[in-house]
């Protein structure tokens, strides 16, 4: 049975690695306690600082093919509640839930004594760790905080140092993705003495423009402002940035992964790329705290199946498999195979290969896609009269002429046909022996 208990960044202990990210779901004590009841291992409190005033509305989203909130954008600022209220509730939560992790997210103006003060008060309230919000990309950054700090390595390093001068609990630095090379700030945090990193914060975004009012969303009295993008859409970006800092020899810090984690699968992916915990916000905003049940259950079952007892057993396992392009094997070759029994005849692979790839999938009898269409349009079709014309409605097999053929000599193995095929395991990419030994671009150019 998998053991999910976690000790993160040298002292933040929790029953599982699933934390609420700093955001609306972790806004107050009542929410956080209900989240712990639902099974969440920890919570990073909604960022505490001098109370702000928010606008209405605050969120906007990107829907995709009928699915709501593929990506979410917000222009909400840090906590709008007094510092004392937040700290009092943290104390209450820790008293009632001593085994769950409460991490205080902090953001105050860039003065040494102000940071010293908030750090001491948060720790006195009972926080198990601190997360320095150097990532918030909207609103706060205009006031010299959030990503305004996280985009300048010297500032990030300096403030981390101030915090470490007084902190007794682990200090995490939350990184912004809105920067050319995230490793620069990760290294600065390390120099400042950080015990861990949280990545990524939200990505600068405008989710869309209303085509009737011509105003981008979210709409605030006839205007809008850029926000921070998160949710399933950002996972690939987050995974890449996590890998960048996890693989960097100069960083070497524990990472709490954030960005599009909606279930155990994404959590496992972040962990395979080096994360010790993951943080979730959008998926909870969409479906509620209850989603953690399957995160725990699914990850445990997967770990059991793979023979991993603890998260440590597989954490970072995929990092060695990410390399630079120049080290990839030029002599590895795969080609597409179409399972004729599974093909439903949508011919999406055919048109994708012709218009979007390398013209190596064919419909026999026609030279180009336009000829296929022209032949169909020229066909004289009449309504079959079922029993007179002995034609039955089409539940039979796929007409052989609609099943495309792959030219395996020409196929470059790009994967596109497999990606567009709607039928599971109808198209498979299979390795062919090129008869040539492994050789990378670097090797080839060195030899030459």
């Amino acid at each position: 049975m998998a053991d999910l208990t976690t000790n993160f960044a040298g002292g933040i202990r929790c029953p599982n690695p699933f934390w609420l990210a700093s955001g609306p779901p972790a806004n107050n004590g009542e929410q956080v306690m209900r989240a712990f009841d639902a099974g969440w291992g920890g919570a990073v409190w909604k960022t505490i600082g001098e109370p702000i005033v928010n606008v209405s509305s605050r969120y906007s989203s990107v829907d995709w093919n009928g699915q709501r909130m593929m990506g979410l954008n917000n222009i909400e600022l840090i906590s709008d509640r007094p510092i004392e209220t937040n700290l009092r509730e943290i104390a209450e939560v820790k008293k009632r839930y001593p085994k769950n992790a409460v991490v205080a997210s902090l953001m105050v103006e860039s003065k040494r004594e102000v940071w010293h003060d908030i750090v001491k008060r948060a720790e006195d309230a009972g926080a198990d760790g601190l997360e320095l919000n150097f990532g918030c990309p909207h609103g706060m950054s205009e006031r010299g905080m959030g990503s305004a700090v996280g985009q300048v390595p010297e500032y990030a390093s300096m403030i981390t140092e101030w915090v470490k001068e007084v902190a007794r609990t682990p200090v995490l630095v939350k990184l912004t993705p809105n920067i050319t090379d995230i490793r620069a700030v990760a290294r600065a945090a390390k120099r400042g003495g950080a015990d861990g990193l949280s990545a990524i914060n939200t990505i600068n975004s405008i989710t869309g423009v209303d085509l009737d009012t011509f105003t981008p969303r979210p709409y605030v009295g006839g205007q809008s402002a850029h926000g921070g993008y998160c949710g399933p859409a950002v996972k690939p970006i987050a995974l890449h940035l996590v890998q960048q800092i996890a693989s960097d020899a100069e960083v070497g810090l524990p990472i709490s992964g954030i960005g599009g984690v909606s279930g155990w699968r994404e959590a496992a992916e972040f962990m395979l790329l080096g994360c010790g915990t993951v943080q979730v916000c959008t998926a909870v905003m969409h479906y509620g705290f209850r989603i953690v049940e399957d995160m725990i259950d699914g990850l445990s079952n997967w770990m059991d199946e793979k023979g991993f007892r603890t998260i440590q057993d597989f954490r970072g396992l995929s990092l060695p498999k990410v390399t630079e392009w120049k080290h990839l094997d030029l002599n590895y070759k795969i080609v597409a195979k179409i399972d004729r029994d599974k093909c439903i005849g949508c011919d999406l692979c055919y048109i994708a290969c012709w218009d979007g790839a390398h013209q190596c999938i064919h419909i026999d009898g026609h030279a180009v896609p336009e000829a296929v269409v022209a032949a169909s349009r020229a066909r004289l079709t009449v309504t079959p009269i079922a029993k007179l014309d002995s034609v039955q409605p089409g539940n039979g097999g796929t007409p052989p002429l609609r099943i495309p053929r792959v030219d395996e000599v020409e196929c470059v193995g790009c994967n596109l046909c497999w990606l567009v095929c709607p039928v599971e395991s109808c198209i498979t990419m299979e390795q062919v022996d090129t008869g040539r030994p492994r050789q990378s671009w670097e090797q080839r150019t060195t030899v030459a």
């Binding site: 439903i344 011919d347 896609p369 004289l380 009449v382 029993k387 007409p399 609609r402």
Partner: protein, 439 residues
């Protein structure tokens, strides 16, 4: 037909839609399910080759005007087809989703969604060029084939007149399709759209109000969209008794008469889709018992299986291997039908088993008898011109006479609205080519 027998809404409440409309969110969800197949089988299966994935994706992007025009470009009667087409054997029957273990895309309801938007907004197709091609065309008959033919001709700037002998154009779309599929008002919306494209409509009985010679002199080319004549007669004693009404007249009568009544017990004779339509309508109009008699069996019945299934739900009772030999009447009023039991033997020329009568007779008492034996082709007028509607070129609609083209039921023997539209469109394209070649 007199001007007083226009379609009335009298019985509409008895005929709710077979398939209710999609609301816009359901339409969006359904449109999103479409895979957007390349060279889509649904498009190939449609006799008018509507680009189905294209119009569905336009619904998904909220481009309803573009969606409607995609449909209308291929099929000017997109509204009636969306309601009357047997899509199980056409577009939806060929949907690849069948092989993907999913329900086929609801193409008909999506098409209706776009068409309802179009007609609801009183949209008109793009203005067309005036009479830019010399030559005029007369379409005889005002049904789907002629409407499609005329619309296509107008798009190419050709002057067209439709001659129809009924008070309202639209043919069987207006007068002959069961209410739960298509209402006369929808057919008339399509007629008005065609009229707005610049097509002239004249009510005249060709051969009576105006002679074919006159038309032949006045117009460069003539399209025959005559439909089928009256239904074939039973050819048995007592057929002219009161209480006997053929299925097409029956459907037309209940659509057009305020006080139309059906008897308590009804016998329908025939096994085609029109027989089923008439039987269902008789049930909805209040007949307590509706019995359908067919001389072969369920297996050979030409009606679509979903039509048959629908009829069973309506409560129609089926009797196989029964052929009428006499209408039983007293004082000129039918009171029943005498049937002979039949026996099936080896297939005849049509591939179906031959029907032989046995000596076994039985009488069935009823108030109304509805023969539905298929329709006769309307051809007497044309024999003199050497035109045989059985030998029309299906790709062009060209008849043996160079001035005459033909399409729809009078050529294909009675298929669907969509087949008539396809015929009309193909004939129009051939006529356009001929007129342009002549200029």
């Amino acid at each position: 037909m007199s001007a007083s027998t226009l379609p009335v809404a009298g019985n509409l409440e008895k005929f709710p839609d077979l398939h209710p409309a999609l609301d816009s969110q359901s339409a969006l969800a359904e449109a999103t399910r479409c895979l957007f197949c390349f060279d889509a089988p649904c498009t190939a299966a449609c006799p008018t080759h509507i680009d189905v994935p294209r119009f569905i994706k336009k619904i998904a992007t909220g481009n309803l005007r573009g969606s409607a025009l995609t449909i209308l470009d291929a099929n000017i009667l997109g509204l009636s087809c969306s309601r009357a087409c047997p899509v199980d054997v056409l577009c939806e029957g060929s949907c690849v989703m069948h092989r993907h273990n999913q329900k086929p895309i609801e193409i008909a309801r999506l098409q209706r969604h776009a068409m309802d938007w179009w007609h609801g907004k009183h949209q008109q197709p793009q203005p067309y060029a005036g009479d830019s091609v010399a030559g005029r065309v007369a379409c005889i008959g005002g049904g789907p084939a002629s409407l499609a033919c005329a619309a296509e001709l107008r798009r190419h700037g050709i002057s067209v007149t439709i001659f129809d002998n009924r008070p309202l154009p639209g043919g069987l779309n207006t007068y002959g399709i069961a209410e739960y599929k298509l209402r006369p008002s929808d057919s008339l919306r399509e007629v008005e759209m065609v009229r707005a494209m610049g097509v002239e409509f004249r009510q005249a009985e060709v051969g009576a109000g105006i002679s074919l010679e006159e038309i032949q002199q006045e117009y460069s080319l003539i399209f025959l969209g005559l439909g089928l004549g009256a239904m074939e007669r039973l050819g048995i004693p007592g057929e002219d008794a009161s209480g006997v009404i053929d299925a097409l007249r029956f459907i037309e009568r209940y659509k057009t008469s305020h006080d139309f009544k059906v008897g308590r017990c009804v016998a329908v004779i025939g096994g085609g889709n029109t027989a089923i339509d008439a039987a269902n309508a008789a049930r909805r109009l209040g007949a307590e018992e509706v019995h359908l008699f067919y001389r072969r069996t369920e297996r050979e019945m030409p009606a679509f299986s979903f039509e048959y299934g629908h009829s069973i739900i309506e409560g129609v009772q089926f009797h196989w291997l029964s052929q009428p030999v006499e209408i039983l009447a007293e004082s000129g009023a039918a009171w029943g039908v005498r049937f002979a039991q039949t026996r099936l033997s080896d297939p005849d020329g049509t591939g179906r088993p031959r029907v032989d009568l046995t000596d076994s007779l039985f009488d069935f008492a009823c108030d109304t008898v509805i023969p539905a034996l298929g329709q006769a082709r309307f051809s007497e007028l044309l024999k003199a011109r050497g035109i045989d509607l059985k030998t029309v070129d299906r790709r062009t609609g060209q008849t043996a006479h160079p001035k005459y083209y033909a399409g729809g039921d009078c050529v294909n023997g009675g298929r669907e609205v969509v087949d008539a539209v396809a015929d009309g469109k193909r004939a129009a394209l051939a006529m356009i080519a001929k007129l342009k070649g002549a200029n």
